[in-house]
């Protein structure tokens, strides 16, 4: 019978299997938002969870929460993957806030976007923006938790997420012209 890795986490013991059961769905969703293709999303999710499983015996609960520890691994894995992509961030970041537009008209347009269009808008953002949006809206972390993963204060994370949303909106606008 194979043995399972286990670590002590206060009164909680977590095995590799439990780690996967707890986080696989959220990590998969995060990866789907940050990656540019389903294949890449699978690779990111798998690599991130594998790194976490192999690092379980080095996890120190006195230094970080399990959530924070795991999501930093996931975010780093996603960054490593996106660094290998062709850079589109510079072009995308130059778009956007030049033309003030009616919030109600824009919101109406966004409300009627297809899922593919919303995803496309996110995937055309720079890696950092994708990561922020995926952590905040794909993985269910709150702003403070996103900040912990990204090494930002809660307020800085909130502003960064807001700017990422703006750039995503600008991407949508540009694609519909």
């Amino acid at each position: 019978m194979a043995t399972a890795q286990a670590i002590a986490l206060s009164s909680e013991r977590i095995t590799a299997e439990e780690l996967c059961a707890r986080y696989a769905a959220k990590v998969s969703r995060f990866a789907a938002l940050t990656a540019s293709s389903r294949d890449e999303a699978e690779d990111i999710a798998q690599d991130a969870l594998l790194k976490a499983v192999r690092a379980l015996d080095r996890y120190d609960p006195s230094r970080a929460s399990l959530d924070g520890w795991l999501w930093r691994i996931v975010a780093n894995t996603a960054r490593d993957a996106t660094r290998r992509e062709r850079v589109r961030a510079a072009v995308v970041e130059r778009l956007g806030l030049d033309h003030p537009r009616s919030a109600s008209v824009e919101d109406e347009a966004i409300a009627h976007l297809s899922t593919a269009e919303v995803l496309s808008a996110v995937r055309r953002l720079g890696p950092r923006d994708r990561e922020l949006l995926a952590l905040r809206f794909g993985s269910g972390l709150d702003t403070a938790e996103v900040g912990e993963v990204m090494g930002l204060s809660a307020e800085t994370a909130r502003r960064a997420i807001g700017r990422a949303l703006e750039r995503a909106r600008a991407t949508v606008e540009r694609s519909r012209r």
């Binding site: 789907a32 999710a45 969870l49 409300a111 919303v118």
Partner: protein, 325 residues
């Protein structure tokens, strides 16, 4: 507080439904790779997997209801001895894991009594009150492991008097077969009184360890009555011996029966004989493919070694091969 609740794009992102990687598939790959690395030489500094709970399940193709003869108390209490014998478990009740879960739906209580698993099969033992059989039809019973892998029931055997049934799901797949399986048994239809189908949701849970097997030397090929058998693997488990083979030639003979005044003996008889001359029951035979077919025989273990595999084609001479360590 959700500071982005006013932002429609944020709301869209939070509730977006799109195709994501399957987390069950991801988990299975991760655990398989992590386990493979552990078995390549890392020091054993890990806790034991807490997933060994044995459920008792019986499996086998549906055969006529057998007489119910209570078995002496074992890990699963009393259970139809005929069913255990028919599944090759009667002499190895020590390998059966007791489970204790039950669910009631549409007036029928289904109890998950126990189980047994090795590399060749997974047997699940259930009992219903009032007595009923898990129905097959278009939606047979399904077993699901903790990695999301599903297994459809291949067959079953049951008793009319006690409502006890043995379900056969075939072998568990990796990684459940390696780390132990947390199983959900899902049954949607029961046959009451042999004729009335009742629908409901009977889902029970248990955990199961998988017995490992030992490879035995594969015997030399056999030519008999126009058939050519090549043996690819012989593996011994606590309750069965699995013989994997390929067969070519007059393979149509394998399904035929001898016209012998109604006895209908198989045209090709496959037997495993122990050293005392006793015939070990063949619990299941699988065959597929063509023109060269592949197959597996599962023989009940028992009797003194060495064992002899004997193939007899009607009208031709028997051919034998020793099977042993």
């Amino acid at each position: 507080m959700n500071e982005f609740s006013h932002d429609i794009l944020a709301r869209r992102l939070a509730t977006l439904e799109f195709e994501e990687p399957d987390p069950h598939v991801i988990s299975a790959r991760v655990l398989a790779r992590a386990s493979a690395r552990r078995t390549s030489g890392r020091p054993a500094a890990f806790a034991l997997a807490p997933v060994l709970l044995v459920g008792l399940t019986l499996s086998g193709t549906y055969f006529a209801p057998v007489f119910s003869q209570a078995l002496a108390d074992g890990p699963i209490g009393t259970f139809a001895g005929g069913l255990l014998r028919g599944s090759g478990l009667a002499s190895r009740t020590d390998r059966i894991t007791a489970m204790d879960d039950r669910v009631t739906a549409t007036g029928i209580t289904l109890e998950l009594v126990g189980g047994y698993a090795d590399g060749a099969r997974t047997l699940i033992l259930v009992r219903t009150v009032p007595a009923a059989y898990p129905a097959f039809g278009s939606t047979p019973p399904v077993l699901r492991d903790q990695f999301g892998q599903t297994y459809r029931a291949l067959g079953a055997g049951g008793t009319v008097e006690t409502g006890e049934t043995v379900l056969d799901f075939g072998p568990l797949r990796w990684p459940a077969s390696g780390v132990g399986a947390r199983l959900s048994l899902e049954i949607g239809h029961l046959l009451v009184g042999g004729t009335t189908e009742v629908s409901g949701e009977w889902t029970t849970h248990g955990t199961l360890a998988v017995d490992e097997g030992v490879d035995l030397a594969s015997p030399a090929a056999i030519d008999a009555g126009g058939l050519h058998f090549t043996f690819t693997r012989v593996r011994s488990y606590p309750t069965v011996v699995a013989v994997d083979f390929r067969v070519s030639g007059a393979t149509e003979l394998l399904a035929q029966r001898v016209s012998d005044a109604g006895k209908g003996a198989p045209f090709v008889d496959i037997a495993l004989i122990d050293a005392a001359g006793g015939r070990l029951a063949i619990l299941r035979g699988d065959l597929s493919g063509g023109p060269e077919m592949t197959g597996r025989w599962l023989f009940q273990t028992g009797g003194p070694a060495p064992h002899t595999l004997r193939i007899t084609v009607s009208g031709a001479q028997s051919v034998e091969r020793l099977i042993g360590p």
